[in-house]
C-alpha cells in the first residue's frame, strides 16, 4: 500500500515535470556558436532534432498510457507484484525519455528554432530556420505562406486528436469522475455502479426509439418549440461561422446549411442531400437567446466531443465547438457545459448526445429564469467580479423528460443557479 502511494507520487511528479519544448522557451538564450556551420546543415540538424523530439513525445505518451494501465490493473483485487514491476520499469523509461527531451529542447532553443531570434538576421543563403508553431506543427520553410495556413488548420486537428486521446483515457480509466480526481475512492465507484442499472432502465424505456442521430434530431425539433436545429459537415460549419451574424448573408447560409427538415424532404434530389454519416456539427439556435455548437466525433455518430455557447449575434471563424465567446456569460456557460458533457459521456455514454442536447435546451430561459437559491436574475459573482445571470444548470439530476413535459413555471421547470449560489449549496 505504501509502495503504491510512493509510485503514485512518482507518477504525479513525473507527469507534472514534463514540459513540452514549445512551452519552455520563455527565456531567450543568445544563440551559441553555430555560426561555424553552413546554413543548410543548421537547418538539416534542426529538422533532425525536431524529428527526435516528436519521437520522444510519442514515447512519453505511450509511457503515460502504460503507467495508467498499470494503475488500473493495480486497482483490481488479487494482484501480484506485477503492477509494481511495471511501474518501476515505466517510471525509469519515462524519466529517460523526459531527460532526452529536455536535452533536445535545449539544443533546439540554442539553434534558434523555438524562438524567432534568428529569423530576422537569417543567413545570406536565404534559408530560414524551421518554425515551430505553438500547437507543435512544424513549418519547415517559413516563407511559404500556404504552409502557415496548413499549420493553422493542423492546429485544429491536433487539438481535436489530443482531446480525443485524453477523453478516451479518462473514459477508460476514470469513468465515474467529474471534477474530483479521486483515484483511490473505491466506495464512490461502487456506489455509482449501483445507481447505473436503475438509470440504464430509465434510459431504455424513454429512449429506445431514439437511437439514431436522425431520429434524435427530428424529435428535438418536435419536442422543443422555438428551437432551430441545423446540421453541417465540419468544413461547412467553418464557412457558416464566418458568415454569421447572418442578417446580411442569407444567400450563403441557404447554400450551406442543411436544415434538418429540408434534408429529409429532399432525399430524392441527390445533390442537396446531406448524408447522415457526414454530419459533424449540430447547431442549436434559440433566436435572440443563444446559439450552441456541438461537435460529433466521428462524423455521423451520436458521440458528442465538445460543445460551446455563443451570443445569437456573434459571428466569426472562432465560433466552433471548442471556441470561446467574447461575452462573459456565454464563456461561463461553455465551461459549465464542458463539464456536463464529460458527465454525460461518463455516466450515460450511449445516450450522452440526447441528454446533452436537451440539457442545452434548458438554457432557453437564460435571461428569464431566476436563481433557485437567491431568487434574483442578476448577481455579482464574487470570484470573477462580474454581474451574471444564473449560468449554472445542474446536470447530475437532469432528466430529459422534465424539459419535454413542462412549458409552465411549475416545480417541474428546470432549475438554475448563479455560480456562487450553486457552490454554496454543494
Amino acid at each position: 500500500m505504501l509502495q503504491q502511494q510512493q509510485h503514485q507520487h512518482h507518477l504525479q511528479s513525473a507527469v507534472a515535470a514534463a514540459p513540452l519544448p514549445s512551452s519552455s522557451s520563455t527565456t531567450t538564450t543568445p544563440p551559441s556558436s553555430i555560426a561555424g556551420e553552413a546554413p543548410p546543415k543548421q537547418v538539416a540538424q534542426a529538422m533532425d532534432r525536431l524529428g527526435q523530439a516528436a519521437r520522444l513525445i510519442a514515447n512519453i505518451r505511450l509511457g503515460a498510457d502504460r503507467l495508467l494501465e498499470a494503475l488500473f490493473v493495480a486497482a483490481q483485487p488479487h494482484q501480484s507484484s506485477k503492477p509494481l514491476h511495471l511501474f518501476r520499469q515505466e517510471d525509469e523509461s519515462m524519466r529517460q525519455h523526459l531527460q532526452d527531451l529536455r536535452t533536445v529542447g535545449k539544443q533546439l532553443e540554442e539553434s534558434g528554432v523555438l524562438n524567432e531570434s534568428l529569423r530576422s538576421r537569417s543567413n545570406s543563403w536565404g534559408l530560414h530556420m524551421p518554425l515551430v508553431c505553438p500547437d507543435g506543427a512544424v513549418v519547415a520553410y517559413a516563407w511559404k505562406r500556404q504552409l502557415a495556413g496548413q499549420a493553422g488548420a493542423s492546429a485544429v486537428d491536433r487539438t481535436r486528436l489530443a482531446l480525443k486521446a485524453f477523453t478516451d483515457q479518462k473514459r477508460r480509466f476514470f469513468p465515474h469522475l467529474n471534477d474530483e480526481e479521486d483515484g483511490e475512492s473505491t466506495d464512490n465507484v461502487s456506489k455509482k455502479h449501483r445507481n447505473l442499472p436503475a438509470q440504464a432502465e430509465d434510459n431504455q424505456d424513454i429512449l429506445s426509439d431514439r437511437k439514431t442521430l436522425s431520429d434524435l434530431l427530428t424529435n428535438m425539433e418536435k419536442d422543443v418549440p422555438n428551437l432551430k436545429v441545423l446540421t453541417y459537415e465540419r468544413l461547412d460549419w467553418l464557412k457558416r461561422a464566418s458568415s454569421l451574424p447572418d442578417s446580411a448573408n442569407d444567400n450563403i447560409m441557404e447554400a450551406l446549411k442543411h436544415n434538418f427538415h429540408s434534408s429529409r424532404i429532399l432525399r430524392s434530389a441527390p445533390q442537396n442531400v446531406v448524408s447522415m454519416d457526414k454530419i459533424a456539427v449540430i447547431e442549436l439556435f434559440f433566436p435572440s437567446v443563444f446559439r450552441a455548437v456541438v461537435s460529433l466525433h466521428p462524423a455521423g455518430s451520436t458521440d458528442p466531443d465538445s460543445v460551446a455557447f455563443f451570443s445569437p449575434d456573434e459571428g466569426g471563424s472562432y465560433m466552433h465547438s471548442r471556441g470561446s465567446s467574447v461575452y462573459h456569460v456565454f464563456r461561463q456557460i461553455t465551461e459549465h457545459a464542458t463539464v456536463a458533457l464529460q458527465y454525460f459521456l461518463g455516466i450515460r455514454s450511449k445516450t450522452a448526445l440526447h441528454y446533452l442536447l436537451h440539457w442545452i435546451c434548458s438554457y432557453q430561459t437564460l435571461f428569464t429564469k431566476v436563481c433557485n437559491k437567491c431568487g434574483r436574475l442578476l448577481a455579482m459573482d464574487r470570484q470573477s467580479a462580474l454581474i451574471l445571470p444564473p449560468v449554472h444548470r445542474p446536470y447530475q439530476t437532469f432528466s430529459a423528460s422534465k424539459v419535454l413535459s413542462s412549458q409552465d413555471q411549475s416545480s417541474n421547470a428546470p432549475v438554475a443557479y448563479h455560480i456562487g449560489c450553486f457552490s454554496d449549496d454543494a
Binding site: 435572440s288 445569437p312 462573459h328 456569460v329 436574475l377 467580479a385 462580474l386 454581474i387
Partner: protein, 222 residues
C-alpha cells in the same frame, strides 16, 4: 446590435444638476468594478427651417432633431417626435443641409463623458452641455447589455441591473435619480431587434424630459 437603455438624471424638486453629482455617479460605477475605457460624445441639434415667408412656419414640425452617435460615425439620425418619424441618413447630409440653406441649427447640445466596462455591461455617463459653453444642463447615462439584441428578452435583465444600480447609488444620497422611460418604439416603426435608430429615439425623448424639467424649474422660479 446590443441593446441599450438611456437614462436621464431627474433632480429632486428644488435642486439642480451640478458636476459633483457627475463625479459621484462615476465613482459609483467604479465601485461596481467598472473599468474606465475611454471617452464618448454624442451631439443633438434642434433645427429650424429657413423660410422667406415666416407665416409658413406653422406648417413645419415644431421639433426637428438631428443626432450623431459615437457608435455610428458615418450616420446621422433625424427625429420628428410629433410625427413619430426616425430616419437614418449618411453623415454627409449635414453638409448638404448647409449648402442648401434649408435648415439652420437653433440649439446644439453635446453629450459627453466616460465609458465603463462592467463584464457584459457597458455604461456611459455623460454631461449635457450646449456646444460652446460649459454650462451643465443635465446628466445622462447609457446602460448597454452586450450579449443580446432583443428588447423583449432583455427586459428582466435590465430591470434587475437598474435595481442593483439604484442600490449602489442610494448609498451616496444624491439629490435626484436616473429615470428611464421606454419610448413606444413600435410607433416609430422600430422592431424588437435593437438598432441605433432606437438609441436616437431614446435621446430625443431624453431631450423632451430635460426641456420639461428646465421649464418646470423656471416656472417654479417665476
Amino acid at each position: 446590435m446590443p441593446l441599450k437603455w438611456v437614462f436621464n438624471w431627474q433632480p429632486n424638486a428644488g435642486s439642480t444638476v451640478n458636476s459633483q453629482i457627475l463625479n459621484e455617479v462615476s465613482q459609483c460605477v467604479e465601485s461596481m468594478n467598472g473599468v474606465k475605457e475611454g471617452r464618448w460624445k454624442a451631439t443633438l441639434t434642434f433645427y429650424k427651417p429657413m423660410l422667406r415667408d415666416q407665416a409658413l412656419a406653422a406648417e413645419f414640425p415644431r421639433e426637428f432633431i438631428g443626432i450623431s452617435l459615437p457608435e455610428q460615425p458615418n450616420k446621422y439620425y433625424f427625429i420628428l417626435r410629433g410625427n413619430k418619424i426616425v430616419l437614418e441618413a449618411d453623415s454627409s447630409i449635414q453638409l448638404i443641409m448647409e449648402k442648401l440653406q434649408s435648415y439652420k441649427s437653433r440649439v446644439a447640445l453635446n453629450f459627453e463623458g466616460f465609458q465603463y466596462q462592467l463584464g457584459d455591461f457597458q455604461l456611459r455617463v455623460g454631461k449635457v452641455v450646449p456646444t460652446h459653453s460649459e454650462n451643465l444642463r443635465g446628466i445622462v447615462m447609457e446602460v448597454e447589455y452586450l450579449p443580446i439584441s432583443s428588447l423583449e428578452k432583455s427586459k428582466q435583465i435590465m430591470d434587475e441591473f437598474v435595481e442593483i444600480w439604484q442600490e449602489a447609488v442610494s448609498k451616496r444620497s444624491l439629490p435626484g435619480h436616473f429615470m428611464h422611460i421606454e419610448p413606444n418604439f413600435s410607433e416609430y416603426g422600430l422592431a424588437d431587434h435593437y438598432t441605433s435608430q432606437h438609441t436616437a429615439v431614446q435621446y430625443a425623448h431624453v431631450m423632451g424630459h430635460l426641456i420639461a424639467t428646465v421649464q418646470a424649474v423656471q416656472a417654479g422660479r417665476n
